[in-house]
Symmetry: C2
Subunit: 409 residues, 2 copies
Amino acid sequence: SIRSERLLRRLRELGDIGREADGRLVRLAASDTEKLGRDRVASWIRDAGLEVAVDRIGNMFGIWRPVGYELVDDAPIMIGSHIDTVINAGIYDGCYGVLGGLEVIETLKEEGFMPARPIVVAAFTNEEGVRYAPDMMGSLVYAGGLDVDAALATVGNDGTVLGDELSRIGYAGPQEPGFLRPRAYVELHIEQGPVLEREGIPIGAVENLQGISWQRITIEGDANHAGTTPISMRRDAGLAAARVITFLRDQARNSNSPMVATVGCIAFEPNAINVIPSKATFTVDLRDPDENRLQTEEAALAAFLVEIASDEQVSVTTERLARFQPVTFDKGIVTLVEQAAAARDLRSRRITSGAGHDAQMIARIAPSAMIFVPSIAGISHNPREVTPDADLVSGANVLLDVVRKLASE
Amino acid sequence: SIRSERLLRRLRELGDIGREADGRLVRLAASDTEKLGRDRVASWIRDAGLEVAVDRIGNMFGIWRPVGYELVDDAPIMIGSHIDTVINAGIYDGCYGVLGGLEVIETLKEEGFMPARPIVVAAFTNEEGVRYAPDMMGSLVYAGGLDVDAALATVGNDGTVLGDELSRIGYAGPQEPGFLRPRAYVELHIEQGPVLEREGIPIGAVENLQGISWQRITIEGDANHAGTTPISMRRDAGLAAARVITFLRDQARNSNSPMVATVGCIAFEPNAINVIPSKATFTVDLRDPDENRLQTEEAALAAFLVEIASDEQVSVTTERLARFQPVTFDKGIVTLVEQAAAARDLRSRRITSGAGHDAQMIARIAPSAMIFVPSIAGISHNPREVTPDADLVSGANVLLDVVRKLASE
Ligand SMILES: NC(=O)NCCC(=O)O
Ligand SMILES: NC(=O)NCCC(=O)O
């Protein structure tokens, strides 16, 4: 079994890197604070006797390539996740998978395990997508789904260019993304939703992951005086945006599917109290586990935007920020997760991931699956994101057993 | 009659002060660019042979106190408006009243008119209320409706303190606000609404001004993951804000009154694409010419906020930013305006002001009224705010005749 106090200590230590004076944890992709987090993780990887490698998109790897005997082949078992965070984040999202992966490799080394192939822990760049869209960018590039130079040229919502930021913090590495082609990929993560906790089940064997559609919508109307402009003469971009937000909620509420829709970002221009907004910009995050339904939902939104444009006399433009189809994970690995849980007397259930994960991207190039542990009250992307220590340890032990199995052949 | 080319030239010259590289005119109250505007106006006042005075809240005055004969008394006829602007403003709002007032005094001096009392042109501080709330702050303080020290302590939406900013730009003057108690006050302004242009009438004799209610509403919910959090478990502050925005529009659309409601400013926290907003802050600008109706509308909003808090499981707090009752102007001066227009063969009509104006505040301490000229397509608080030159000249000539009359006795 893993050394639980080492894993928990590192989780808390990493969780303090990027903590602001007001207590908020903010460690955005390729920022100064994420550099500090990367440095810390790199030093732990080195302490464990692994080789550190960084690719051009900043993905970081800790490679255990055993010496002194012949490997079955060089294709590694890869374990990974990310260490970038959202704004005002919790400490588990992503970090648990990276530090859990490192913990598993250290434990296997310490117990004298002789893997049939290398084992690698990966920390992928910009999984959250909060600073640069799309999310899961590092793993997407790694899996060949996005050109590395195009990704490096991405302009963030703070006006920075990802490639410049990676160079600045010293994490624009020399390796070509995809340089290690995994034989299998496993990711350990907190559920970030309420299912496991509600059902009192410690282990989720993630069998699929819903589709994600991200758009930025810009509505342009006309600035005018808030006091003198009759309602009938207004071209109010802010009101039009509000109507889109309530439309999306009504759609989700009235739908029979598990569809979710969220407007997380918004800005008005000129943003003055007595001026009708001339412009409203906001993001839409739309998800559904079923690709056909997701397309129907996107089409319903598009139709509503046409209606709003004519109703409110505004113009509407949309920009795609991310679009990922639902993914079904490798049945073999999912079954391994269930078996490993059962062998440790841990209840498990198959589960769908509501969040996007790097596993979703790596699934394009290797059999992949994920292990979930419960999130108290389903809270995530929030400083109150908590998973009980016992569950964190259980999840890492299940990962240990799955990786030991995968790396044996 | 006034020297129209002088008035129009100054309007355009002042309209270029505060123009940004991207072409937007931004001359917010007590900013660096407003200082440049004030300096220019002060130099024109001095060129006209008037005395410049500044009070503690930064209101600027050009005083014509005739010498060499005995005045009936010292209470001046005051003409005024403001030179601060909104963000991305037009050039007429406020400036027309200040420069029109100066033009009238210069014309009267040049024609050898011997007034029975001083004539004063005023540029009041922070009329727009965009940087510091409430709007009409300088004239409100001048009329005794707000303590000067409290006003100076106002924190702007950029975190600055008004008193510090006035000192910094050199316009925290020595005079006590209210130091000149006007015998009458007249303000010349663009309508900023569509009525005069639609009816082809060049002069509006403003007989009243609607009530203004400004609030900042803060909604607090709970940040959570956009992908994993079921709709039923969300406490989405952004959705709640959107529902308030659409509620207000429905209220205004379905009301039989000329009520208007505007949400001009908004911000979400943490403002991240895949995080349910934990906090939404936005402003509400609610107006009605009838005080009882305005109170009913405020109460309807308050009741809806209670409903939203329970529906969406959020907490709602409101902060009053401004609250002004409707004002009825002085019938005598309104009639003078109509007579002056008729004497120049200009059609006029009585009109209600949709915008707030300094006249509304000065009406507390002196008989007051306003003269409106048409705004093309009713556009204001917008760079496309335009009044034809001929109308600008007509309005200033009507002001000239009204002031000549008022200052004769
Ligand atoms: N796991 C996680 O929070 N990923 C971020 C991408 C998303 O699902 O929005
Ligand atoms: N005239 C004018 O635009 N005043 C600003 C105050 C307001 O009415 O919002």
